[in-house]
Structure formats: C-alpha cells, structure tokens
C-alpha cells in the first residue's frame, strides 16, 4: 500500500490567500490542484511536502476566454474543460489534439493546465504545446505579477522558474489570424506518457511559411522546442523536402534517453517523423483556411 508521508493540509479560498499561505508555510509547502502528478509522487515518497495547499476552490482560475488578442486559459482549468472548449478548438487545434491524449478521462476530470506546466515533467504534453505556440505564463506573488514565456518557464526536469511563494495563474497564447496547428503523439497505451510527441502551428502568406512554432516532448528537446527547424522554415514553401529538413533539424537538437518506451535511435526517428506530420497537418489546415 502506497501512502503519502504525514502531511498538513490547508485550503486556500483565493489567489491572495494561497500566496499568503505559501509565504507563511514556507518552501516545504506545495500547492495541490488536481493532484494527479503530486499525489503519485507523494505516495512513493519522492515528494514529501510538509503541507499541501488545496487550490481546488479557486474556481475563478477555471476559465477559457479570449482577451486582448490572446487565448487565455486559467491555471485551474481541468484538462476535460480544455478538451470540451469550442473556443480552444477554434483557435488552436493543437490543444485539443494534445489533451485528447493526456492520461485518460477520469484523470482529465481532475488534472489541471496549471498543474501540468508546474509539474515540469520532461514528457509533459502541455509543455510541448506551450513551447510550440509560444505561450506566455502569468505568475503571481505578493510582490506582483510577471509574465514568463513558456519556453523559459522550465528550468529542468521537474523544475521551473517559479519562486517559492509564487503561483502560475494563467496561460496566454497569442491568437494568430490564419494560423493552423496540430499535435501528434506516440505512446504505448491509453494513459501512457509519450515515447515522443510533437506539436506545431504555421502561418502561411502567399504560399510561404511566414511564422511557425514547433514543440517536442519526451525527447530532450531544449525548452521543449525546435528553434533551428523553425528558423529554417520561415520564408520557405512548405514542400515535403523542406518539411523533411525541418524534421531532421528538430531531431538533431534532441537528446532522448533510452527507456522502456524505446531506444535512442527510435526516439530520434520519432522526433523527425512527428515534427513532419504535425507541420504537414498544420499546413494543410492553414491552406484550407485561406
């Protein structure tokens, strides 16, 4: 039987209250949202916080809306809510295609967008999505609010740039008129982490790639993105040959580790192949829109 170590419990009633509790209880306290990353780690004692601060009552952070040209997703929005949101689908199919493959339905009913980013798992799907679409993350502390690009949010496996008494409150994605996006993942079974996964968005102008973002997860891509491949594609026509080269460049930047989900060569191959697939699908969708 796996049971967390003894822990204290506090329930936050507002963002301000949560921040106050974080300050008062110190760095050994942890916010708990859906708990589907933190509790498994607590059960096997990889995590032993002194206190968990329950933020499930912060329903004012549970929203999807368009504001100031951004698609805004509150940190307490459940995966199932994102998956069911027509607004998300209208602007960024990549979120729906990723969410459909995150864990399984009961887990998606509890797990949150904010929790996924903050867990900073090296195989996290939303980390790749956030990097692909160049999202901005809104962080709050008692000192105020700051915005950090998703590509700078993760400091390493299970590490973020969040301060001890700081919390992620919102994910903002610039809405790019004419853009289209896609996500693809290879996994062994429902609920599994990715062996590899990739996401992308493209904006075409006169048949040429005007803007592009590529995200990868589980393959050791720096900051979950593929900047060289992006730079290569801008200004080019999205031909198979150019997409192949973009896939090659994306895979070249990856440093996957062999594990039960496959050897290194397989994952490098997947990084290239999945990058091409999501780019191709994004291009087809963008062409369909124009």
């Amino acid at each position: 039987m796996q049971t967390p170590a003894p822990v204290d419990y506090a329930r936050a009633t507002s963002v301000e209250h949560a921040l106050e509790l974080l300050e008062r209880l110190g760095p050994e306290s942890r916010l708990i949202a859906g708990g589907h990353s933190l509790l498994p780690m607590m059960r096997i004692r990889l995590a032993q916080p002194e206190c968990v601060i329950d933020i499930n009552g912060l329903t004012d952070l549970d929203y999807v809306r368009v504001e100031g040209g951004d698609l805004c997703i509150g940190a307490m929005t459940r995966h199932s809510t994102v998956l069911a949101s027509p607004v998300v689908g209208e602007h960024y199919a990549i979120f729906h295609e990723a969410e459909r493959q995150i864990a399984d339905p009961p887990v998606r009913n509890r797990g949150t967008v904010g929790g996924s980013f903050c867990q900073a798992d090296p195989a996290e799907d939303l980390a790749a999505v956030g990097s692909a679409v160049k999202a901005n993350l809104v962080l709050r502390s008692s000192q105020g609010t700051r915005t950090v690009p998703a590509r700078e949010f993760h400091a390493g496996p299970y590490e973020t740039v969040l301060g001890d008494a700081e919390m992620l409150t919102e994910v903002r994605v610039p809405i790019r008129p004419g853009s289209a996006s896609a996500y693809d993942k290879v996994k062994r079974k429902v609920g599994d982490w990715a062996a590899a996964a990739a996401g992308a968005y493209v904006v075409l102008r006169d048949g040429v790639v005007a803007d592009v973002g590529i995200g990868l997860t589980a393959v050791g891509a720096p900051h979950f993105c593929a900047e060289e491949a992006e730079a290569y594609l801008v200004g080019k026509t999205p031909t198979d040959e150019h997409l192949l080269e973009a896939g090659r460049l994306a895979a070249q930047a990856c440093t996957p580790r062999a594990d039960q989900r496959g050897p290194v060569a397989y994952k490098v191959h997947l990084a290239s192949e999945l990058t091409q697939r999501v780019l191709r699908r994004s291009v087809e969708r963008a062409e369909g829109r124009s």
């Binding site: 039987m1 003894p6 589907h36 509790l39 498994p40 199932s80 009961p106 509890r110 429902v190």
Partner: protein, 170 residues
Amino acid sequence: MQVKMTVNGTEVSGEIEPRLLLVHFVRNHLGLTGTHWGCDTSQCGTCVLLLDGEPVKSCTVLTAMADGHEVRTVEGLEVDGRLDPVQEGFMQEHGLQCGFCTPGMMLTARWLLDNDPDPDDHTIREAISGQLCRCTGYENIVRAVRWAAEHGGEEQAEREPQESSQEVQA
C-alpha cells in the same frame, strides 16, 4: 482533521489524517467496500467513483480535498431496491466476470449516460479508456452500457419500478 461530505445522498463525517486517500476513507471509514482499491498508481481505474458528479480515481484524491463535496459510489446506484439501468445492463449483457473493475465501470457509465443518453460504441470505449478490465475484453461492457442506453438509461429518477433483479437474472 475533521471532514464532512455527502456520500450517496447522506451526510457523513470523520476524523482523519490529512494524508488519507479518498478510496481508503470510503472503504475503511465508511465501510463502502464496493469501491475497489487496485493499482495504487492511478492506472487501473477500479477505484473510480463520482466526485461532484464526475468520474475520478479516488486513489489519487485526498479525503481532505473532498471535504464539503459530493461523492457517489456504486452503493448509490441502486435506489429503493431498484437497480440502475446500468446495473441491469451489466447483468443482461454479462458485462463482468470477476467483477473487480465493475463498480468503477458502472459509475463511469452512469456519468456518460447522464451526459450523453445515446452514446455510440466509440464514445463508450473512450469514456472507459482509463479503466482496465482483464476479463471481458471490453466487448460485453460496451454492450452493457448500450443496453442501459436503450432501456431508459438517462431517466433513472423517473423510471417505473421494474421486476426484481433475481428475476432478470433467472
């Protein structure tokens, strides 16, 4: 710490350690052992119950997090001696063999039919995709949910009393 919640329509309370997982509160403190406890790692889904009406894996929820909320377990499916159409469907279509996954499967089915009274096979399979069954190959579970959908699955509260389960079984 003290917790209070509504379980199957009844208010319950208990003195618990904050680290107590909901599955153990339901089974050990309330004696509702219909909720099964399986893999302990949020993989198998046998501990699924409804929290505020939604299927969740109760081995990955702290009891404290359910304080003030509403829980429904398999024991709450039957009302006044009348089985839920989902339960009848599992009997009619032989939706179980060993029965270990059944409570979680039935609660997810209940939730699905409440939200989508006429789900197709794909939708049913998607809904139960986080829950393992090692006996049925899922075929009979899907049929059982379809049976419930076709026999007033969405109208549990309004249904007329039906013949007893023993007769259905025979």
